[in-house]
């Protein structure tokens, strides 16, 4: 029954249909109520549909599945080509999982232009899912860039005091990177006469060209992930974004960079990836230690978590460029668990922000007295972020380190220093917010999380623990694709080693 349906397209564009429905609602109370409900149901339904991907996905093969391919811009030979492999299917699920949570989290906290907000989120979902499914470079680029627009609006319209500065910083940073990627895509098209991703993966380019293309793609992905030193947009964007904006930004948008490395840089430019590994390692190590130290002295909760995100993403880039099974699987796993955990942490900040309208750590203290349930929830995600075994955060981090240790003990050693620092800033944050005496008068009436907030957190809690105790299903679904990626990479490298005349010497 499922075979005939364009499944990925349905999942991708269903939110858009919801968005259209909301767009025609009136601006009165009923319309606002309708838009909230419609957004929630649309995103929930999309998530349920996407679960079919999880169950229907054939394990043990690296080929693209649920493939759809129809001619699109025929004069240029560009197709509307969609499909998922073991890597992208997980990110599609992550996106569809987080969107309803975001909408539910915004239920009361967004009070202006609610209709537009919901539309923005649903459009964003379409673009995110489409990006992870796209198997044509042009299609990919459109989705990839498109994501910028709703996110720009979410920060710029519903953000905090310096929202305009943050929104522009975010926009300019990412756009600058993307322009270079666009050039690279055009160059590939001109050279190979195709923009079809699976086709390009099977072609090989000369090393010289790979290096240039790699750098161009790198510019875009490094900003997205973000890597040091192009990370400074992230703390500002997070601080100014509304809670749900931060959730989706940390949960999914950062992963676009890591996904890009896995989809483009590594398979299409294996020689360049190999060549630039030391660069990536250096930048990532700096990111891990540098941002962990910076996180230590933050006074704004969101900024602290934002910096911790940069450190965690440092592990992702380290893992990807370790280019072995544990490294890459660890990196993907780290992205997934960070997607869940950092999203949850931003939601935790959102809970108290909604009540007190401040994110300054000093304004809190002793919350456990009034908010025991909240404290437990926050504790769990804090520990997951620290990478405590038994939570999702541990598996990815540890696998990355195992992968790194196999190729370079010094890099593994330095990265592990970040793990120690990570514990320091998170515990310190938790202590200042939750523990201590509750002395401030305005905190004395603060209420524990309500039913809606519990509903938001429960799936995240379950997933965090599940990913820590029983990660096998997630690792299994990505296994074949990762192995395929690495095999091809090694073949490409050994082809050069066997035939050094093909390219300039390493």
């Amino acid at each position: 029954m499922l075979e005939g349906l364009p499944f990925l397209s349905i999942i991708t564009f269903l939110p858009l249909v919801g968005a259209l429905f909301i767009a025609i609602q009136k601006e009165d109370n009923a319309g606002i109520r309708n838009s909230r409900t419609a957004a929630l149901w649309t995103s929930l339904f999309t998530f349920c549909l996407s679960l079919f991907l999880w169950f229907g996905f054939e394990r043990g093969t690296a080929k693209f599945q649920f493939v759809e391919k129809v001619p699109w811009l025929e004069t240029f030979g560009i197709n509307y080509h969609m499909g998922v492999d073991g890597i992208s299917v997980l990110f599609v699920l992550l996106s569809t999982f987080l969107t309803p949570i975001c909408i539910l989290a915004s239920w009361d906290s967004i009070q202006v232009r609610i209709k537009d907000y919901m539309v923005a989120f649903l459009v964003l979902e379409t673009l995110m899912v489409g990006m992870f499914c796209a198997l044509d470079m042009v299609l990919f680029y459109i989705f990839f860039e498109g994501v910028l627009i709703p996110m720009f609006l979410i920060i710029g319209v519903w953000g905090g005091e310096r929202r305009v500065y943050a929104a522009f910083k975010f926009f300019l940073y990412t756009l600058t990177g993307s322009v270079l990627m666009l050039l690279a895509i055009i160059a590939i098209y001109l050279m190979l006469d195709t923009t079809d991703i699976p086709v390009i993966m099977n072609l090989s380019l000369s090393k010289e060209i790979q290096l240039w293309l790699w750098l161009a793609f790198f510019a875009s992905f490094a900003v997205k992930i973000p890597m040091w030193p192009v990370h400074t947009w992230l703390p500002d964007a997070h601080v100014e974004a509304p809670t749900a904006g931060s959730v989706i930004l940390a949960g999914v948008l950062l992963k676009m960079g890591g996904y890009g490395f896995l989809r483009f840089s590594v398979p299409m430019m294996p020689l360049a990836s190999d060549f630039f590994t030391p660069l990536v390692f250096s930048l990532s190590i700096i990111a891990v230690i540098y941002t962990s130290l910076v996180a230590l002295v933050q006074s704004d909760m969101k900024k602290l978590i934002a910096y911790s995100s940069v450190a965690h993403m440092g592990f992702v880039t380290l893992g990807i460029f370790a280019l072995n099974t544990q490294g890459v699987q660890g990196a993907i796993y780290q992205m997934l668990s960070h997607g869940v955990v950092s999203a949850a942490l931003f939601l935790c900040v959102g809970v108290v922000y909604d009540r007190m309208h401040t994110k300054l750590i000093d304004r809190y203290g002793g919350l456990v007295e009034r908010m025991p349930l909240y404290s437990v929830t926050f504790m769990l995600f804090m520990l997951a972020s620290v990478g405590l075994p038994g939570t999702g955060g541990f598996i990815g981090e540890f696998l990355v380190l195992v992968g790194l240790f196999n190729i370079n003990t010094t890099v593994a050693f330095l990265a592990a220093v970040g793990v120690v620092l990570g514990a320091a800033y998170m515990l310190w944050l938790y202590r200042r917010v939750i523990f201590g005496k509750l002395t401030r008068d305005d905190l004395k009436t603060i209420k524990d999380i309500n039913a809606r907030e519990i509903t938001v957190f429960v799936p995240l809690v379950i997933l965090t623990i599940w990913m820590g105790i029983y990660p096998a299903p997630f690792l299994e679904i990505m296994d074949a694709s990762v192995n395929n990626l690495l095999e091809r990479h090694n073949v490409a490298l050994s082809a050069i080693a066997d035939n050094p005349t093909m390219a300039s010497k390493n």
Binding site: T232, Q326, N406, T409, F413, A416, A424, R431, A472
Partner: protein, 644 residues
């Protein structure tokens, strides 16, 4: 099923009480966790009988944990003699502490939370001792660390408790950093992290080298030393010990269970468990011996000058752990575990006894404000005597058997590090006895230094607290005598089975029985003379200690400030980290990256825009002229053929 229940009952108890504590109230929470623990204890005895005494070692697989390429880890429960011994110790002490806490935490408003944490700790500790691979060991390891963090910070309103909790977690993180790298090294070396595979593969790896941080070293030594860093953190060995005394901020039952009897011994357990690897690295063993012996001495000296009753016992724990380590270091693992076993009883007894004192003194912990109270709390007094006698190694108390064999083994190892350990062990035995009696006499004898109000309230603890004390005292008296044959005596080989491994040439434990008579008597002599000196000083010359402290002002200050480790670390790590973090943020991110990057470009553009606007003159012909130039450029561009 038995195995599962034994391990998971504490978890079930913790989960139920954790989730429904507010409904169950104090009574319900206590009933559930205590009965779960009691049941678990009964099962642990059955398991001990089956596994250790009948020799039925076995492993129960649960399910796959991580499968990533060759990196394959399972959840599994491993039961051999070493595990069985630890089960008895952990569950036994934990059960008693659970019951004791019913009385001790009587007035605390957060009973459900406390009992949930205690049971949760027990579960993680059980996961640690039953692990079948390095990663599960690490899981339990960090899990007990978490429980310890939660319990140290149990009174979350106290800033000092919060600080101590964070410190415990972070110092342990530093240790775990080494541990984790060690596990990675094991995987690199063996392609597996399962104990069986690694242990059976070790003989082949004896000569292999490995690249680490740019150098090429003996692989097993690198791995063992990294793992040992983890053990040092958890067992508060010299350098990574700073968290343990501060951990006394937690409720006293916690100190007895976690920071004396069980968790802090995890490092010793780890070395014993990994004896098949450590035995192949002489360097690693030597390091273990040196660190252990130095800690035994260092902590004993600091214990001399502390005034907080719990801190004295904490440093004593630190010191005794040192003994266990150097026993392992000279390949006398069985002796180390034997000392771990007896120590669990008498140290838990001492802590719970101290708890009883503190309870009686209305939460006073400073010994300078105690004194002369033995008549009011005779039972506690007796218990403290038994604990101190056992700790000082007075003959026929449990500590005597285990401490003697440890010191003798060090002597019998006939190596330089062994001699070092032997000498420091002897000196530490003297100091141990001295500070134990200093504690006893300062607390119970002399004139009372407490205020009226406290004195009026002094009372013996209720039954629920004294009965556990009695049971522990029973262990402290007879534990050594009963265990000697099995642990280190004639039935040793049969008892341990394959749980411990000792290489061919390492005969310290066997030779320990044939040491000269002065070595055999030495520790006893040291212990008794330490007691004698303390007795003389504090009973008959009570003004002497103050005088000595004044005379040796520098030494006294040095010891009182715990060799200045905390100050040193604060200066070297904590302050620089914060300073660095701040300057990286403001100067690095702010001035440099943003200044040159987005903000810089933005202001440059604004500048250009201002310049450009001055060109805007408002005259139409200027614009027309500019347009013409533009068109001209474009046209020539196309004509030249570049635009194709």
């Amino acid at each position: 099923m038995l195995f599962y229940l034994c391990i998971f009952l504490p978890f079930i108890g913790a989960a139920i009480v954790g989730a429904f504590g507010s409904v169950l109230k104090d009574k319900g929470s206590q009933t559930i966790t205590c009965s779960a623990m009691t049941l678990s204890f009964v099962m642990s005895i059955i398991i001990f009988h089956d596994v250790a005494l009948n020799g039925n070692a076995q492993t129960v697989k649960i399910f796959d944990w991580i499968v990533s390429g060759d990196f394959h880890v399972e959840w599994a429960l491993r039961f051999d003699t070493l595990t069985a011994v630890m089960l008895i110790v952990v569950i036994g002490v934990s059960t008693l502490v659970h019951f004791y806490s019913i009385g001790y935490m009587n007035h605390d408003p957060h009973n459900p939370r406390f009992f949930s944490y205690l049971s949760l700790f027990t579960f993680f500790m059980l996961m640690l001792v039953t692990s079948d691979n390095f990663l599960q060991l690490f899981f339990g390891w960090e899990g007990v660390g978490l429980a310890s963090y939660l319990l140290i910070g149990f009174w979350y309103q106290k800033p000092s408790a919060n600080a101590a909790a964070i410190k415990a977690f972070l110092v342990n993180r530093v240790g775990d950093f080494g541990f984790a790298l060690g596990i990675m090294g094991v995987f690199l070396l063996y392609g597996s992290v399962s104990f069986d595979t690694v242990f059976s593969g070790t003989p082949d790896k004896a000569g292999v080298t490995m690249e680490f941080l740019g150098g090429d070293y003996h692989a097993l030594t690198v791995v063992c030393l990294l793992l040992f860093v983890g053990a040092m953190g958890k067992s508060a060995q010299l350098g990574l010990h700073t968290w343990l005394p501060d951990a006394m901020e937690g409720p006293t039952p916690v100190s007895a269970l976690i920071h004396a009897a069980t968790m802090v011994t995890a490092g010793v357990f780890m070395i014993a468990r990994l004896s098949p690897i450590f035995e192949y690295s002489e360097t690693a063993l030597a390091v273990v011996t040196i660190v252990g012996a130095s800690t035994a001495f260092f902590a004993a000296t600091v214990g001399l000058c502390q005034n907080d009753i719990k801190r004295v016992i904490a440093y004593s724990t630190c010191s005794q752990l040192g003994y266990m380590f150097f026993a392992c270091g000279v390949s006398a693992y069985a002796a180390g575990i034997f000392h771990l076993f007896t120590h669990a009883f008498f140290k838990a007894l001492l802590f719970l006894g101290a708890g009883s004192v503190i309870h009686a003194m209305s939460d006073e912990q400073d010994m300078r404000k105690m004194g002369g109270i033995w008549r009011d709390i005779k039972f506690t007094y007796l218990m403290m005597w038994i604990g101190s006698l056992a700790l000082s190694g007075v003959p026929f108390f449990s500590g005597f058997y285990s401490k003697d064999i440890v010191i003798e083994a060090a002597f019998a190892s006939k190596s330089i590090v062994g001699d070092y350990a032997f000498m420091l062990g002897m000196v530490a035995a003297f100091i141990t006895a001295f500070y134990s009696w200093r504690l006893l006499l300062m607390t119970f004898h002399g004139s009372s230094r407490a205020d009226e109000k406290t004195l009026a309230h002094i009372h013996e603890s209720p039954k629920i607290m004294t009965v556990p004390l009695m049971l522990l005292a029973f262990g402290a008296v007879f534990g050594g005598w009963a265990g000697y044959d099995f642990f280190v005596g004639d039935r040793m080989n049969e008892f341990w089975g394959d749980a411990l491994f000792v290489a061919e040439g390492h005969t310290a434990l066997r030779d320990a029985k044939d040491v000269p008579i002065w070595v055999k008597i030495g520790p006893i002599f040291m212990g008794i003379s330490g007691i004698g000196l303390a007795y003389w000083l504090y009973m008959f010359r009570p003004y002497y200690p103050g005088l000595i402290a004044k005379r040796l002002k520098f030494t006294y200050k040095f010891l009182l400030n715990k060799w200045y480790f905390d100050q040193l670390y604060d200066r070297c790590f904590v302050k620089p980290a914060k300073y660095l973090g701040h300057s990286l943020w403001k100067d690095g991110d702010g001035t440099l990256i943003d200044g040159l990057g987005p903000d810089g470009i933005a202001s440059a553009l604004r500048y250009l825009a201002r310049k450009a606007s001055s060109i805007q003159t408002g005259y139409v012909y200027h614009y027309a002229f500019a347009m013409l130039i533009g068109v001209a450029v474009l046209v020539s561009f196309y004509l030249s053929g570049l635009g194709k």
